[in-house]
Amino acid sequence: MSPTVRDPHDGGMHTTTPVLDPAHVVPANPALVQARDLTRVWGKGHAAQIGVAEVSLDVRRGELLAVIGPSGSGKSTLGSLIAGIDVPTSGSLVVDGTRIDQMKPDRLADWRGAHVGIVFQQFHLLPTLTAVENVELALELARVDAGRRERRRRAIEALEWVGLAAHVKKLPAQMSGGEQQRVGIARAMVTRPPMIVADEPTGALDQRNGHAVFELLAGLTSVGTTVVFITHDLHLAESADRVVSMIDGRIESVRGGA
């Protein structure tokens, strides 16, 4: 079960146009992600390096799925494939009814902008943009049908939701790691994607900040957003709906859920 978190519609948020539209709340089934025999290999012959090998997995709508495993087990590779920032060597990957494993780069970019939010361990904010501009950029790239003012308003709302109302005009270099990661979460969810892939988002943070970030992400499932949470932290993973354990590029076990 997801932990209890602050509802993104509450407390300081606009009530007229909430950041997370209830229209996005959909039943938990059928599966949002359907991965079949996914394999990702770099190099050839003896130098071949296997990221994931023949992984098949369904991710349900609105669930919080934790992916755990030791370093090199392939959990980040699996997250990258699901997020559409890497392409499988073989296998098929259907996300929200769209097969993405054979998409051309530009179409895949459009798809990412509209269908997935990504949270990185190293934040990857644009260093020359302020917090609010970073969030606004995601709206612009996703071609959200809104004017510049509306986009700005939504970006500020997202930052307020992650508790950064006072930091909207700060540059990444002027913020702590925890603050930057919260900007990263605001950037990932501001376009209201059906899925967020978070690749070790707490890895570079202390325990308190890590926990806060996890709670923010987990809270998104309450409005129907699917969250794929890749982590080393077994304690946090235990709070997920399901836990996928990986080793040597393969799924070792799937725990929790029906």
């Binding site: 770099w42 980040s76 590779t77 990258s80 997020a83 920032i85 890497d86 392409v87 780069p105 530009d106 970019a109 459009d110 990412r112 902008g113 509209a114 990504i118 990185f120 361990q121 190293q122 990857h124 904010l125 644009l126 260093p127 020359t128 943009l129 302020t130 501009e133 606004e136 950029l137 995601a138 612009e140 790239l141 996703a142 005009k169 540059l171 990444p172 270099a173 002027q174 950037r187």
Partner: protein
């Protein structure tokens, strides 16, 4: 060495790009060696050929008169040659040069093939006049070609070399005097020439042309070579400056991109001094490897350009030469510059606060400076536009470097056509006052004026005199014209046209201004047979270095009253009633000659310009490659959140185009200033009005070329970026 190899294995592409960029930069400095390589080739030729110190045409001299010249104090050796103007079977006018092949010590014929003439019906000439074994007919007499070759003095001309006894009967004796002086300093040669003229005068002979003095082992085309060399040298300095910027930029980047690595080492206890030394070694190692490629490249460039210069302007094919001074200076300069830049960059890198350096992966945090914070508040366009503006401000040194590199390329691209159009306009301007369609030139003042004036049955004609002279040792063309000349009509800037009484003269305005000659002055005019005086009564706008006097006065001054040596005509094929060997040049011929000369200049400067533009383009490419490497995470993150390649291209284009615009404006300004500096130096050196014609027509092409190159660069950068998996790039950052 092991450390270098490790660096290479770590990023072979970037290290190779840096080495190549530095090598090209060092190679470009090789342009500076062109003048020395050219001069050394010429001086080698002088040594082989035995070029004289004083060369002059005379009235026919017998053995006693030659002996008298040999006895003049200061003369080491005096030799006589016989030169006759002859007409070949196809109507080509050339010279048959009679040499004492068994005894001569000067003007030795350098054979390319065959042998020297052994009898009076054999000649040596150029391949253009016939194959060895074939015959050439001159003035109705057939000569067998037994060899191909020439002397330095006649290089580039298709003339015939024969034994002295073949030609002497035609000329009445030796009529071309060559002298080697004991002291070949400039002042001594002037005195010696005057002494020889005086000695000849006592024997009833005289100079018929202005004596050519070649002090200190110089050659007759030294002036031309020096002018071309000056231009090449200036462009070389330009190329060198661009090369230094490239060298500094590349070295700086090599150090800066190791910011985080150095921070980790500092965190682990590495001492700053030790780390700085390590960074300097990396930069110096890469520069040393670049020198191995760059120095031979520079030697090749200098020899290639020197070959073009000498082949086009002198007709001499130079041998391979190396300017060791430039080689050593390039090597020392490159190592010193790399050392200085590396030291500065290393100091900066090791002084960054550790937390900041460890946190920032790119070595260029944004937000630490007030300018960053100010820019973050300014709405400079949309979000992509803001990233573009702030990214340029984030790395000001790099932005400045790219701007400078673009400016250098643009300056070279504008300077070259400006020089060409200026030379072109100058050539046109020098011919503008002359309205003849053809000019018939006799070797000596051998055309009776009375028989030449108005005797062209196909048009009008006018006899005149055109000889070399000097005013205060500055060479000047001396024209003897009718006071009512219909073929020369230049505007009088100051004063009036000369009259046919009172020894009056007009002078070129550029020469008058730069040599402080004013209307009313009396000038000493040195002619072939002595110095005479004229009063300047007017200055003319003729873009020339010339003095204009009454032809009758000049004919008398030259010791040939009533005689002329040119006939200007209104028809292209003049039909003159004169019995003398003349060469006819049409205005079209001269225009074509000017065009050929201009083409040669375009070829040479175009090659150097291409080097400068190439070095600059490579510098921009190298800087952008490093820029791309540093920003790969940023670009990958943009792609991860949904940016198409078009967006990335747009971002880079918005970054590059403003920089390109500034570089373009600065480059055009620099190019215009450079052209003015170069032409100004020639104007003051030659006392001549050349004028600058900016190649405005080239500007749209330069603008379009710059924009296209930058857009292509942006496209190429994005293409390279998108080839790599976003996930892999982002993971590399972690």
């Amino acid at each position: 060495m092991r450390s270098m190899l490790r660096q290479f294995r770590r990023a072979p592409g970037r290290i190779l790009a840096s080495v190549f960029a530095l090598a090209l930069a060092i190679g470009a400095i090789g342009v500076l060696a062109v003048p020395t390589v050219s001069e050394s080739t010429l001086h080698d030729a002088v040594g082989q050929d035995g070029l004289a110190d004083i060369i002059v045409d005379t009235t026919p001299l017998d053995a006693d008169q030659l002996a008298a010249v040999g006895d003049v104090s200061g003369v080491a050796v005096a030799e006589g040659q016989a030169i006759a103007a002859v007409e070949l079977a196809d109507g080509f006018l050339t010279r048959l040069i009679g040499l004492d092949l068994d005894h001569q010590t000067m003007d030795l014929v350098q054979l390319e093939a065959g042998r020297l003439p052994a009898s009076e019906d054999e000649v040596v000439t150029t391949a253009a006049l016939g194959a060895i074994g074939s015959h050439v007919v001159a003035d109705g007499v057939s000569y067998e070609i037994v060899g191909h070759g020439s002397t330095l003095w006649w290089s580039g001309d298709d003339v015939l070399f024969a034994p002295f006894d073949t030609v002497a009967p035609m000329t009445g004796g030796a009529n071309h005097l060559v002298v080697t002086a004991i002291d070949d300093g400039s002042a001594s040669l002037h005195t010696l020439s005057d002494d020889i003229r005086a000695e000849l005068g006592e024997t009833g002979a005289t100079y018929t042309t202005f004596p050519q003095l070649l002090p200190d082992g110089s050659t007759p085309i030294d002036d031309d070579i020096e002018q071309v060399s000056t231009l090449i040298g200036m462009l070389g300095i330009f190329a060198g400056m661009v090369a230094l910027v490239l060298l500094a930029g590349t070295t700086n980047t090599l150090i800066t991109e190791r910011t985080r690595e150095v921070a980790v080492m500092r965190a682990l206890g590495g001492r700053s001094r030790q780390l700085r030394r390590r960074l300097r070694r990396i930069a110096l190692g890469i520069t040393a490897v670049a020198l191995l490629v760059g120095l031979p490249l520079g030697v090749f460039i200098s020899n290639y350009v020197a070959r073009m210069v000498l082949t086009e302007f002198v007709g001499v094919t130079p041998s391979f030469a190396i300017d060791w001074v430039v080689v050593a200076a390039s090597a020392i300069g490159a190592l010193l510059a790399a050392r200085l830049v590396a030291a500065r960059a290393a100091r900066r890198v090791t002084k960054l606060s550790l937390p900041e350096a460890l946190r920032d992966r790119d070595g260029a945090p944004f937000g630490g400076r007030w300018t960053h914070r100010l820019l973050a508040k300014l709405p400079t366009g949309g979000l992509i536009g803001r990233i573009a503006v702030r990214s340029n401000a984030r790395r000001p040194a790099r932005t400045l470097a790219v701007t400078t590199q673009i400016a250098a390329a643009v300056a070279a691209a504008f300077l070259i056509p400006t020089l060409v159009s200026s030379v072109n306009d100058f050539n046109t301007a020098t011919l503008a006052p002359w309205t003849w369609e053809s000019v018939a030139i006799a070797r000596d003042p051998g055309l009776p004026i009375e028989a030449s004036d108005d005797h062209d049955r196909l048009g009008t004609s006018e006899a005149g005199i055109w000889v070399d002279g000097a005013i205060d040792d500055e060479e000047i063309w001396v024209y003897g014209l009718r006071t009512d000349s219909t073929f020369f009509s230049s505007d009088v800037r100051e004063g009036r046209w000369y009259a046919d009484t009172g020894r009056e003269a007009m002078i070129s305005n550029g020469f008058a201004e730069r040599r402080d000659v004013a209307v009313g002055d009396t000038i000493p005019l040195e002619l072939a047979n002595g110095t005479v005086e004229y009063e300047i009564v007017g200055t003319v706008d003729d873009s020339n270095v010339a003095v204009y006097v009454d032809r009758a006065d000049l004919a008398a001054d030259l010791g040939a009253p009533g005689m002329a040596n040119v006939v200007w005509s209104s028809s292209e094929s003049p039909w003159l009633d004169v019995d003398a060997a003349v060469r006819v040049d049409t205005a079209a011929d001269l225009a074509a000659e000017d065009e050929a000369g201009r083409d040669a200049v375009v070829l040479i400067f175009g090659a150097i310009g291409a080097i400068v533009v190439g070095v600059s383009a490579l510098a921009v490419l190298s800087t952008m490659t490093v820029n791309l490497f540093e920003r790969r995470h940023e670009l990958a993150a943009l792609q991860a959140i949904g940016a198409r390649r078009r967006r990335l291209r747009g971002l880079l284009a918005r970054e590059l185009l403003p920089v390109g615009a500034v570089g373009l404006v600065a480059g055009l300004g620099l190019g215009a200033l450079g052209a003015r500096a170069i032409i100004g130096s020639f104007e003051s050196a030659d006392a001549i009005d050349i004028g600058v014609t900016d190649a405005v027509v080239a500007i749209p092409f330069i603008v379009a070329g710059t924009a296209a190159a930058l857009l292509l660069l942006a496209a190429a950068v994005v293409r390279t970026t998108s080839k790599r998996s976003i996930a892999v790039t982002l993971r590399g950052a972690a």
